[in-house]
């Protein structure tokens, strides 16, 4: 079996604030094989975007990554590399797409230049060749009239088009890993589908590895090989997409799935909401971080941190819960209920 392209071991990211140390990401470990797609799902404040910036090395100065964290990418530990070596990885190694295409493109720089700038820096591509390559890339990501657009400025494009430009920028240096941080959250549904299709196609054609960060379980369901669910700074459940949705074990994942209004349910149906709000990350709960809002908690949950447990049927499906859901029992309940 091939070595993983990206491997996170016990990664934490803390922010210093006047109120104390905010544990935005706390002890996250996962690995990602080359060519795979990981969906990283969580609500706002779960730490998924901070994790992305930690991998990308884009943290603000008041952030701290405690000792013991390690991010290994393609044989390098990203946290111990010197600045220059680390920069050489950004672009050709890892590319990133941000959430809001309205703010992620430089308003005063021509689109073409923003696309080929990375190539110029890393590969010494000439301006002319860079511009040609930019036009090719813009064509590839589905922008009409790329030879005109290449000399335009971002504000002359719609939101969906801008996100396509952002994808072209990320692809310009042929990255091995692409991190897409909520790439469609700021877009309309009909545009969203187009962008996700594009990302999926590029990932397949180039054999890229991809991390797709989103708050929408619907987005990852049909498009990722694996899913990791984050809550309050930690990964609470991870597994293949099929297993995670079909045999959800962690109580939070299930509650999140239940609270989504669905098109196939009748109107005015009462939604299963999760009471309360996510914990304060300066002083998180001692045990399971979801315990205060969990309907199934027991004495253990409040005091002890739940260990990572593997699912009996699929050991790659892992979760952190003291009182996990038993999908087989619930399925048989449902079957008998339907029969009666």
């Amino acid at each position: 079996m091939a070595d993983p392209l990206l491997e996170l071991t016990n990664v934490s990211t803390h922010f210093h604030s006047p109120a104390g140390r905010v544990r935005a990401v706390d002890g996250v470990s996962f690995s990602l094989k080359a060519g795979q797609t990981l969906g990283l799902v969580g609500e706002s404040g779960s730490g998924k975007s901070v994790l992305a910036r930690t991998i990308m090395g884009l943290l603000p100065s008041y952030a701290e990554i405690p000792e013991g964290s390690a991010i290994s990418f393609d044989g390098h530990n990203l946290l111990t590399l010197d600045r220059k070596a680390r920069r050489a990885i950004s672009g050709p190694g890892i590319g990133m797409i941000f959430q809001d295409p309205m703010t992620s493109l430089n308003p005063v720089m021509k689109i073409g230049q923003q696309v080929y700038e990375g190539m110029r820096h890393h590969f010494g591509t000439s301006k002319r060749a860079g511009r040609e390559r930019a036009i090719e890339l813009l064509t590839e990501v589905g922008i009409p009239q790329p030879d005109v657009r290449v000399d335009q400025f971002p504000h002359q494009l719609s939101g969906g088009m801008r996100q396509r430009v952002a994808i072209a920028i990320a692809l310009a240096c042929e990255p091995k890993l692409l991190i897409a941080d909520e790439p469609t959250t700021a877009l309309d549904v009909t545009v969203q589908a187009g962008i996700l299709d594009l990302l999926q196609r590029e990932q397949r054609d180039r054999g890229m590895t991809m991390i797709l960060i989103t708050h929408d379980l619907g987005v990852v369901a049909g498009r990722c090989d694996n899913v990791a669910v984050m809550y309050a700074g930690g990964i609470v459940e991870t597994g293949t997409t099929l297993s995670l949705f079909a045999r959800t074990r962690m109580r939070y994942t299930q509650a999140l799935l239940d609270s989504i209004p669905r098109l196939d349910r009748p109107p005015h149906e009462r939604l299963q909401s999760i009471g309360g709000r996510p914990p304060n990350l300066i002083d998180p709960p001692a045990g399971c971080r979801f315990a205060p809002r969990c309907a199934h908690r027991n004495a253990h949950c409040d005091t002890d941190i739940p260990p990572i447990t593997a699912d009996e049927q699929d050991p790659s499906h892992r979760f952190a819960c003291w009182n996990p859901r038993d999908p087989d029992a619930e399925a048989s309940d449902k079957a008998t209920g339907d029969a009666a």
Binding site: F15, P18, A19, A24, S44, P60, Y62, Q99, T103
Partner: protein, 301 residues
């Protein structure tokens, strides 16, 4: 409301790192009151105390001439020396503080009292009223401020009242601009819309909803305005157009010592140092308070 001409989505982008940015203001310790706040505040209190109680704190008469000690260096009888007419520099500095502080505090108040409502009305109602007010402000600003002050002081004579009022008038357009900008930034926010939906009238919205939000940035600027009022008064009295001689004023003293810079620099230097410290203190205190307000406001929105 989404402006249909832009492609801005209706659902706002989720904040990524902004929550954490807010937790630690970028200016470091600006939120806390450190010695950069207390030290200048102490100086201001000292200066204000001396100015108010000048006749009773045992200093000499600022206008009495000591012909034996002309331009004497600082000594036991005259702690900061004497000027070319033998007047006690320390006493004159303290009496001069009265002028600077009165103008410094009162002129911004005049400007704020008139400028704030004008700016809020312009920002709130918009349209023609706004156009008229902004046009007047532009016109007013196109005339150099010092020229207006000079003309005023020539027409009405140099006196504390004239200087204060005319300097106050100069502050009106500046305060109006700031309050207009602040009003505009809150005017389209949803809480103002919400107030309209419950049937609140214009006056109610202006006073109850907008004013509490507009007044803070305006007040914060007010402290900076105090510093600049003191500087401008200094410039005026330097030109001899503020309070008439022999009444002491810092600018006047600095100007008076100019001819004797080489042999007795202390005549100019002491009032200059005091003025410098006072202006610096207002700037520092104002800046600390402003970043404090900004933090509060940022946290609130």
């Amino acid at each position: 409301m989404a402006d249909p001409t832009t492609n801005r989505p209706l659902h706002p982008a989720r904040p990524t790192l902004s929550r954490f940015r807010r937790m630690r203001p970028i200016t470091g310790k600006s939120g806390q009151f450190g010695f950069a706040f207390w030290l200048p505040l102490g100086w201001l209190l000292l200066i204000t105390f001396c100015a108010i109680f000048a006749p009773w704190i045992g200093i000499q008469d600022p206008d009495s001439l000591d012909f034996i000690n002309l331009q004497s260096e600082p000594n036991d009888a005259h702690l900061l020396g004497t000027d070319h007419l033998g007047r006690d520099v320390l006493a004159r500095v303290i009496y001069g503080a009265r002028v600077s502080l009165v103008v410094g505090f009162c002129a911004p108040v005049v400007g704020m009292l008139l400028g704030l409502p004008i700016g809020m009305i312009a920002g709130y109602f918009g349209g023609r009223i706004d156009g008229l007010i902004v046009g007047s402000i532009d016109t007013f600003l196109a005339v150099p401020g010092l020229v207006l002050l000079l003309l005023f002081s020539l027409i009405f004579g140099g006196s504390l009242l004239v200087v204060t009022v005319s300097l106050g008038l100069l502050f009106i357009p500046i305060f109006a601009r700031i309050s207009r900008a602040a009003t505009l930034s809150f005017n389209s926010s949803e809480f103002v819309l919400a107030a309209r939906t419950i049937g609140a009238g214009d006056f109610n919205i202006l006073v109850r909803e907008l004013l509490p939000n507009v007044v803070l940035p305006v007040l914060a600027f007010g402290l900076v305005a105090v510093a600049s009022a003191i500087v401008v008064e200094g410039a005026l009295s330097f030109l001899g157009l503020s309070v008439p001689a022999p009444h002491p004023s810092w600018g006047g003293m600095i100007a008076g010592g100019r001819e004797h810079l080489e042999e007795s620099p202390h005549i100019s230097i002491f009032p200059a140092i005091v003025m410098f410290l006072t202006v610096l203190s207002f700037n520092l205190v104002g800046d600390t308070l402003r970043s404090r307000f900004a933090d509060v406001r940022e946290a609130a929105i």
